[in-house]
């Protein structure tokens, strides 16, 4: 701790002289009559549609088609060498021709030489087309999904919730989280949306149902 802690707190307290001494924070009512989710369609279909709105590539497959879907996606992308977390399931890559490099502390230059990265996720939100990574199983640390220009994400059907209020209780704030809604983009030039600036410029999602 450094700086003017006591001074700032004293000023804040003085500024709140009008707040009755007996008032607790919870005494200030917060109406919570907003919806946990909106009735916008069947969850998996909605999620796929919202991702496509962001210009992400989307596939839906039963579990037995996953390895083939991953293999096809990597081949189409021309990805010869992809990174993956150390605990990403081996069978995702069973049919892939690409070399899979497990992240055992690759440095940034090493990550920069990868043609892409394949991960899972923690939670996905249908209404907003969002994938949340928490560094848990099959996801790895944050740099892994940031530096390669191509991100292939495997989402299980049971990981998809309808709305944002349903996602937060499934996530631990203690872990660093990355919420991803489509590929990196900017609208800074005449409000014209351009996909792809600093983060992965291509996002491909495989939904396993």
């Amino acid at each position: 701790m450094s700086g003017s802690r006591e001074r700032v707190l004293a000023r804040v307290r003085a500024a709140l002289a009008d707040v009755p001494a007996g008032e607790a924070p919870e005494d200030v009512a917060v109406p919570r009559d907003y919806a946990p989710a909106h009735d916008q369609g069947e969850t998996t279909a909605l999620f796929a549609e919202r991702l496509e709105d962001y210009k992400a590539l989307v596939h839906r497959t039963p579990p037995e088609g996953l390895a083939a879907t991953v293999a096809r996606a990597l081949a189409r992308r021309g990805a010869g060498r992809v990174a993956a977390a150390e605990d990403a399931p081996e069978d995702w890559f069973a049919q892939a021709e690409a070399e899979v490099v497990r992240d055992g502390g690759l440095d940034v230059a090493g990550l920069d030489r990868m043609d892409g990265v394949v991960t899972g996720c923690a939670v996905a939100v249908a209404e907003t087309g969002t994938i949340v990574l928490d560094g848990g199983r099959a996801q790895g640390r944050r740099a892994l999904t940031l530096i390669p220009d191509y991100h292939l994400c495997v989402v299980r059907g049971d990981q998809i919730v309808a709305g944002v209020p349903q996602a937060l209780p499934r996530l631990s704030p203690a872990r660093p989280l990355t919420w991803i809604s489509g590929p990196s983009a900017t609208s800074d030039i005449e409000l014209d949306r351009v996909e792809g600036v600093h983060g992965p410029r291509t996002l491909e999602v495989v939904i396993v149902e």
Binding site: M1, S2, G3, S4, R7, V8, L9, R11, V12, A15, L16, D18, V19, P25, V28, A29, V30, P31, Y34, A35, H38, Q40, D53, Y54, A109, D112, T128, G129, R141, R142, A143, L146, V164, L168, P169, P173, A174, R175, P176, L177, T178, W179, I180, S181, G182, P183, S184, A185, T186, S187, D188, I189, E190, L191, D192, V194, G196, V197, H198, G199
Partner: protein, 514 residues
């Protein structure tokens, strides 16, 4: 492309540029600055196109949520709860961040915040830092303070990069270079990128895709080797000590993930009580600001995560006038602001003057109430701001945390009118005259602002009546403001057309900027 852009020559040029950074200090009061801006037809054209686009996007995605008004009420209430007990929540936040391995610093004003950050950067031995867009650090002019200490701060947000390269000032909260069009941006990249690092590619065109690619290449190496980053935060969760940053490009993720040391400068009003409160703001903010269901990237982190991201985290809590705003029971609501910029995009005055006329990093309606409260109304510039509005009420209608901006404007006008000092009063009257006298300037937008009928008093209360008695507040017709925008926006304007001023020739839009 040669990666060798770290030569002493390039660094030196960059330092010169940083030292000559533009500043909002000593700017003209609102009426003169506005008059200038309105005379700049390229600027007006860029602004009108941009604000119109974003208004429509916002309306569409907000319309998707049938519980928008419930979310808005919750957002307002959560912020009110926090503000009324801010001392409690700040102490909670401090404890949680500290427990998670972060260090918390308290800055009473800009000078102290700059001193703390400069000291922290110096301690790392680095002289280059990367920055992700942050209003708080612009407010305290951190880049200038760092430059004086020989530290160069590299802005990494595309719009901030444009502003920094052209030694310009931001003119919008969300899209700081909204006043620049693609041709201007190409010129800036071609002429200035080399002095700051990797030069623009030969033959760079003005396609936004090519410009974004140039920015990617320009910043790539810098991201990969930077060891210190500076950020702000959109929210700071008191219970858990979690920081939240919303962004689009991935420059934020680069800054928040790759360096060893992360310093976040956060205004004390950014606190929210609990993790689950984010369910409200993560719905309100993206839809209200960029008009997206969700922005491409949101990062959250709590202190330090072993093996993932910066291993040193500093949170600098900034007061810098906020406790003064808090002390004003009417003005306090301005601290609810989540900086979505919807009030700028809807404001008929902003659309004509642009952001620079407001003389602060906080432009538009929110700036008109926040800046005079943060800095006081003693000088002409700040005193003029509460008058930079027609009180049409559109800003209140779109605000996701229901800040009654017209109410605060009227309240501040009273304060200005009651304060001694001729200079301030004169400037204020000038601004009022500029706005109110502008039937032609504000055109249909103002006349159509009937949604606000109830918030526009016929006669300003208190001391402000001294001048409202002698001036008519503009007539406001029945049609609602939203209805008017919807109708106006239905027909996309041809470049040069000015739908708000049907009687005027659009010819003035064709000329180049300056």
């Amino acid at each position: 492309m040669s990666p060798d852009h770290s030569s002493p020559g390039a660094g030196h040029a960059a330092q010169d540029r940083a030292a000559g950074h533009a500043t909002f200090l000593g700017m003209l009061p609102f009426p003169e600055a506005a008059e200038r801006a309105v005379g700049d037809s390229q600027l007006r054209h860029n602004l009108r196109m941009a604000t119109r686009t974003i208004r429509h996007k916002r309306e569409e995605v907000v319309g998707e949520l049938d519980d928008w008004s419930a979310l808005r009420a919750a957002g307002k209430a959560v912020k009110d709860r926090t503000l009324r007990h801010l001392d409690t929540y700040l102490e909670r936040l401090e404890a949680a961040v500290t427990a998670a391995g972060g260090r918390v610093h308290w800055a009473a004003d800009a000078a102290e915040a700059n001193e703390i950050v400069t000291g922290l950067v110096r301690a790392t031995g680095e002289t280059d830092v990367v920055k992700v867009k942050s209003m708080a650090t612009q407010e305290i002019e951190l880049n200038e303070a760092l430059a004086q200490a020989g530290i160069i701060a590299y802005e990494t947000d595309l719009a901030e990069l444009i502003v920094q390269l052209s030694d310009d000032l931001p003119s919008h909260i969300l899209v700081p270079a909204i006043h620049r069009n693609r041709a201007e941006i190409r010129e800036i990249f071609r002429d200035r990128m080399a002095a700051w690092g990797v030069a623009a590619p030969e033959g760079l065109g003005d396609d936004p895709r090519a410009l974004a690619e140039a920015a990617r290449v320009h910043l790539r190496e810098r991201f990969l080797r930077s060891r210190v980053a500076i950020s702000g935060a959109n929210f700071a969760v008191a219970d858990t000590g979690t920081m939240v940053v919303l962004e689009s490009e991935g420059n934020g993720r680069m800054c928040l993930t790759l360096p060893q040391t992360l310093i976040s400068v956060v205004g004390i009003e950014k606190v929210v009580p609990t993790w689950s409160d984010l369910e409200v703001f993560l719905q309100l903010l993206p839809r209200s600001s960029t008009g997206e269901r969700m922005n491409p990237y949101t990062s959250t982190w709590t202190g330090v995560a072993p093996g993932d991201g910066p291993q040193e985290f500093h949170l600098v809590l900034l007061d810098n006038g906020r406790s003064d705003v808090l002390a004003d029971e009417v003005g306090r609501q301005a601290l609810r602001c989540i900086r979505c910029s919807a009030c700028l995009n809807i404001c008929p005055v902003y659309e004509r003057t642009g952001g620079h006329a407001y003389g602060s990093v906080y432009p538009g309606p929110i700036g008109a109430i926040l800046t005079p409260q943060l800095r006081g109304t003693a000088s002409a510039q700040e005193a003029s701001l509460p008058y930079a509005s027609s009180l049409c009420g559109a800003c209140y209608e779109v605000c996701p945390v229901a800040i009654d901006i017209p109410e605060v404007l009227v309240h501040l006008r009273e304060e200005v009118a009651a304060s001694p000092g001729h200079r301030a009063e004169k400037a204020a009257m000038g601004a009022a005259g500029w706005v109110l006298g502008g039937e032609r300037r504000l055109g249909a937008a103002q006349r159509a602002a009937s949604a606000a009928r109830s918030v526009v008093p016929r006669r300003m209360p208190g001391p402000a009546s001294a001048w409202t008695d002698t001036r008519d507040i503009p007539e406001i017709p029945e049609e609602s403001f939203r209805a008017w925008w919807r109708r106006e926006g239905a027909a996309e304007p041809a470049p040069g057309a000015d739908p708000a001023e049907p009687g005027r020739s659009g010819g003035d839009e064709e000329g180049g900027r300056r």
